[in-house]
């Protein structure tokens, strides 16, 4: 399978989990990594939290911005993030979904429709069920899903919810997910 994008969703415990998942990635990675994490608004921004973690550009996704390979994008706090057919981002402030804005389901569903079977969706630790419907959509449209091993997850509600909707997701530890991203990043094929 050839991937064109990775989407990651996480909530409680996600900041630390992402530090492992995103560690040491090389800028040669031929796809964008787009992340929704449920987190209170931060003034220092996401790039600050993850600086020196890897050599990729880490930034907040902007409205109408063109999606580029080798960049890690975060959904801004308090905005939903979607992907458009022309590979640009769009933002929205409509009501919360699963008590969350940004919502993982909104990102995952829109990404699934654009990237169909070239999408990898990853669900990490979290104490709610956001992302489960998104994973279902990714799976239906031929994409692949990975869920953090719930034995290892700080909060296992989110991984378990995703598996409830798609039992065929790969279950991996954070270290394995990191290795997997590095592997597909190199030649962009599984």
């Amino acid at each position: 399978m050839k991937y064109k994008a990775i989407v990651i969703g996480t909530s409680a415990g996600g900041i630390e989990a992402l530090k492992i998942v995103l560690k040491d990635l090389e800028p040669t990675i031929e796809l964008p990594i787009i992340i929704v994490i449920h987190i209170k608004e931060r003034t220092d921004g996401f790039s600050k939290i993850y600086e020196n973690l890897n050599k990729l550009t880490i930034k907040e996704a902007e409205d109408k911005e063109e999606i580029k390979n080798g960049v890690i994008y975060f959904a801004p706090s308090n905005y939903h993030l979607s992907i458009e057919d022309d590979y640009t981002f769009s933002l929205s402030v409509e009501e919360k979904v699963n008590y969350s804005r940004p919502s993982i389901d909104i990102l995952f569903k829109s990404a699934a429709e654009v990237y169909t079977d070239n999408l990898l969706g990853i669900i990490l630790t979290g104490a709610n069920s956001d992302g489960a419907l998104g994973i279902e959509k990714i799976n239906k449209l031929g994409g692949k899903c990975i869920v953090q091993d719930s034995e290892e997850a700080y909060f296992d509600t989110m991984p378990r919810a995703a598996l409830k909707y798609v039992s065929t997701c790969d279950v991996m530890s954070l270290d394995s997910i990191n290795r997997y991203i590095k592997k597909i990043g190199g030649n962009n094929c599984e």
């Binding site: 902007e62 109408k64 979607s82 769009s90 929205s92 402030v93 409509e94 009501e95 829109s110």
Partner: protein
Amino acid sequence: MNEKELLEIENIELKLLIEAIYLRYGYDFKNYTKSHLKRRILRRVKLNDLKNITELTEKMLYDRVVLEQILLDLSINVTEMFRFPEFFKDLREEVIPLLKTYPSINIWHAGCSTGEEVISMAILLKEEGLLNRVNIYATDINKQVLDIAKEGIYPIEEVKKWTKNYQKAGGGKSFSDYYVAKYDHAIFDQNLLKNVTFLEHNLVIDKIFIDANLIICRNVLIYFNKELQNQVLELFEESLIPGGIIGIGSKENLRFTSVNEKFESIATAKIYKKKIGC
């Protein structure tokens, strides 16, 4: 039928619905962001217990009430008082001193929704001694939300958050001075709205109607594609007097738009001043 085919059909159905709304009622949503349109329409399909978008299209064509529902769905009416307080703080510190230099002031609040930010603005102007010199034109595409805005009555549970926002925005008084609590509602002081005119205005097709000193339009442009963003920003630019100010949403930007050269940023929040001579 496989999922990709179903997706293709759904996208065709969405296009047909948008075209049908335009042909039947004249509302043009063709340049709205697709993901937004689709999400809102599929939500409506589900809420009305319909099978697919085509069923919604059929109902909408024959029943104006269904159209009104769709219009409400497509204009996002999630708002709050002193939303993103830094914006109002910057308005108070950077924009109010400029406004004070004018004998009379026109403010256009475009996409005012249910009016929470209009009241926020009125409170700010009152505290700065400007309210009597100001005409505020608060517009929205949607009549229903304007009716709520005119009343100035909101559920009381929101007020706690708004009080916090007000304080963060540099408000020095007690926020409760501005409303009366009654039957689980906060009824805002009608004097705040005495210089406010509420109007139906469709940013996509309607034209300039005032010379504005200040335009506020927050979190509306994100629902438009680039082409429509430019069109609407050009409308704002033409409406503003030289040196006039525009305030937009915290994640919106004039960069990469057709009016970028004509404005300069004057605050950390998204507030821009139209260059003199443009």
